[in-house]
């Protein structure tokens, strides 16, 4: 008899901290990577097949481990190939309201990020960066179609991703490139 288990989703994620790039595999479960990062019942994130590079040489692998525990609070960014990798849309998007988008520029302690944010009705910096309710109150939130420059090494090729999860605790400023009216 064949037993059917739940479908395993394994994501390839590039985590950026202020010092390292960590390319690894994460199994986020049904709540997706955003939900997993925002899950306050655990401070650590288990990842597998992790390869470490230093930010100044992001393609040079300096260490690798079959299994690592990442401290969620110290992860600045998580780069994902596609926005579908973020998790279930029903969990990520508001259930009502028209979705608008606007390009934004964010600075963190180590990175300069250009991407697109999504919102309903109007852009609310307070909701995006500080406060918010529900999912918006969580530490990690999303941007789409991003490029990331390491501020200390601006000549390196920028990172790019279809979706980005960023840690709001690391953000130092935000600029809206165009007022977001659809």
């Amino acid at each position: 008899m064949t037993e059917r288990g739940p479908t395993r989703t394994v994501l390839h994620v590039d985590f950026l901290t202020d010092t390292h790039r960590i390319t690894c595999q994460v199994e986020p479960g049904p709540i997706g990577i955003v939900g997993t990062l925002n899950d306050t019942t655990s401070s650590l994130l288990l990842a597998r097949n992790a390869y470490f590079s230093r930010l100044q040489q992001p393609t040079k692998i300096v260490a690798n481990f079959e299994e690592i525990h990442l401290v969620k609070a110290h992860l600045a960014l998580a780069l994902l190939n596609r926005r579908e990798d973020l998790g279930p849309q029903s969990y990520l998007r508001p259930s009502v309201g028209r979705i608008l988008s606007a390009p934004v520029y964010l600075t963190t302690t180590m990175f300069e990020i250009r991407g697109t944010t999504e919102f309903t009705s109007r852009i609310d910096p307070d909701s995006l960066l500080i406060g918010g309710v529900g999912l918006n109150a969580a530490r990690y939130t999303m941007l789409y179609n991003v490029t990331v420059i390491v501020t200390a090494y601006p000549d390196l090729p920028p990172f790019s991703a279809g979706a980005l999860v960023f840690n709001r605790d690391f953000v130092t400023g935000m600029g809206v490139l165009t007022k977001g009216k659809a």
């Binding site: 390839h12 590039d14 393609t59 692998i61």
Partner: protein, 382 residues
């Protein structure tokens, strides 16, 4: 239909990709580790190598560079299939020598299309990297404590000239390299060594340029990598008085043993300081004897002397080498005279002359000749 080598540490991905490639009527060989993949790639002929960038022992960038530095694999197309999706990863892989790049997960159509494109496309002849370029790409390791010096020292002895000692030393080094070991060949002859003739290298830096204080930095300056992948430290192009000192040789070998799995030493033509120092730390002393009376007499005397140099029976290997078609003395007579069995017999090989002329030792250029087989078998016993 192509013969494809797939190198990836992820067992699930290997199985899946093998299935996809087999359904495309390709023949697939698998390697789970970079070192294993490198050995397979250099010992077999493949139409395409598919490799991952993230592997635990040798990462894909380094593996690609090493494959491009090898004569046997420098023109084989390399397709990188990886979960590293950043533009910088793509650029680095291309710089290392990869021809194409796909990101995981791959789909059947995309993979088939890319493979067809690669196999049908032009294959530009890649120049072999220069010695200096290779040295820069694969430096020997940083300074380490003597306690980590674990490489084997294998000293070739033949105190009577013309017995083919250097030929055997070079080919044994090649055989060990072919078996996947990191090998350095050290020519200790103070009177114009012949290793550079066998490998046809312009005499690069030699051990004569080592300073009094031999550290890893100084050693790195005199190690040259040959196109075959062998590392070597050459002897000076002109005869020198005395050769390396005992202390210098020991310091040199300590450094080499921390960077190489095997150090094959082509001993000097006499039991000089350097050769004795090498013997004092050797795992094996390989005594080369040819089937003629003078050589056998020299071998008998050498065997009697070795215990006084702290080289004992269990460390000694005897090779009966036929540098010419015929020998004056039979194997049985040689063994009777030496009072021990010979460990290997290496037959005459007419291809040796052209191997020297081309600068490619027989173990790299010729497959399955009696001499190559004998050396490969002997290497396997060490």
């Amino acid at each position: 239909m192509a013969n494809i080598l797939l190198i990836d540490d992820d067992a699930d991905f290997r199985s899946m990709l093998k299935l996809m490639l087999t359904r495309m009527n390709h023949t697939v060989s698998l390697a789970a580790r970079g070192e294993d993949g490198f050995t397979q790639a250099t010992n077999n002929k493949f139409d395409l190598i598919i490799l991952d960038l993230m592997m635990p022992d040798v990462d894909g960038y380094e593996l690609t560079r090493r494959l491009r530095a090898e004569a046997a694999t420098r023109n084989v197309p390399i397709l990188v299939v990886t979960a590293r999706t950043q533009p910088a990863d793509r650029e680095s892989a291309k710089e290392a020598g990869a021809d194409a790049y796909l990101t995981k997960p791959v789909n059947n159509r995309e993979l088939a299309g890319r493979i067809t494109e690669i196999l049908a496309g032009p294959r530009p002849e890649r120049p072999l990297p220069t010695n200096s370029a290779i040295k820069a790409a694969t430096p020997i390791s940083a300074p380490v404590a003597a306690a980590t010096a674990t490489g084997r020292v294998i000293v070739f002895l033949g105190l009577r000239g013309g017995m083919g000692k250097t030929t055997l030393a070079v080919n044994l080094a090649g055989a060990l390299h072919r078996s996947g070991r990191r090998v350095c060949l050290l020519d200790l002859s103070p009177s114009v060594g012949h290793v550079t003739i066998h490998l046809r290298t312009r005499t690069p830096a030699t051990w004569a340029e080592l300073p009094a204080n031999v550290d890893s930095r100084a050693v790195a300056q005199v190690v040259t990598r040959h196109d075959t992948g062998l590392f070597l430290i050459a002897a000076p192009a002109k005869p020198v008085r005395g050769g390396l000192s005992v202390e210098g040789t020991q310091a040199l070998l300590t450094q080499l043993r921390s960077s190489f799995a095997d150090i094959v030493v082509d001993g000097g033509p006499a039991l000089d300081d350097a050769t004795c120092a090498a013997l004092s730390v050797c795992r094996y002393a390989v005594l080369v004897v040819s089937p003629e009376i003078g050589s056998v007499q020299t071998a008998i005397a050498t065997l009697r002397t070795l215990p006084s140099l702290s080289v004992f029976d269990e460390q000694v290997k005897v090779i009966l080498n036929y540098p010419n078609h015929e020998g004056q003395v039979s194997r049985a007579a040689v063994e009777k005279a030496l009072g021990r069995a010979v460990d290997a017999i290496t037959p005459f090989d007419a291809g040796q002359a052209s191997a020297v002329a081309q600068g490619v030792p027989l173990v790299f250029g010729q497959a399955n000749t009696p001499l190559v087989n004998a050396i490969m078998e002997f290497a396997a016993t060490l």
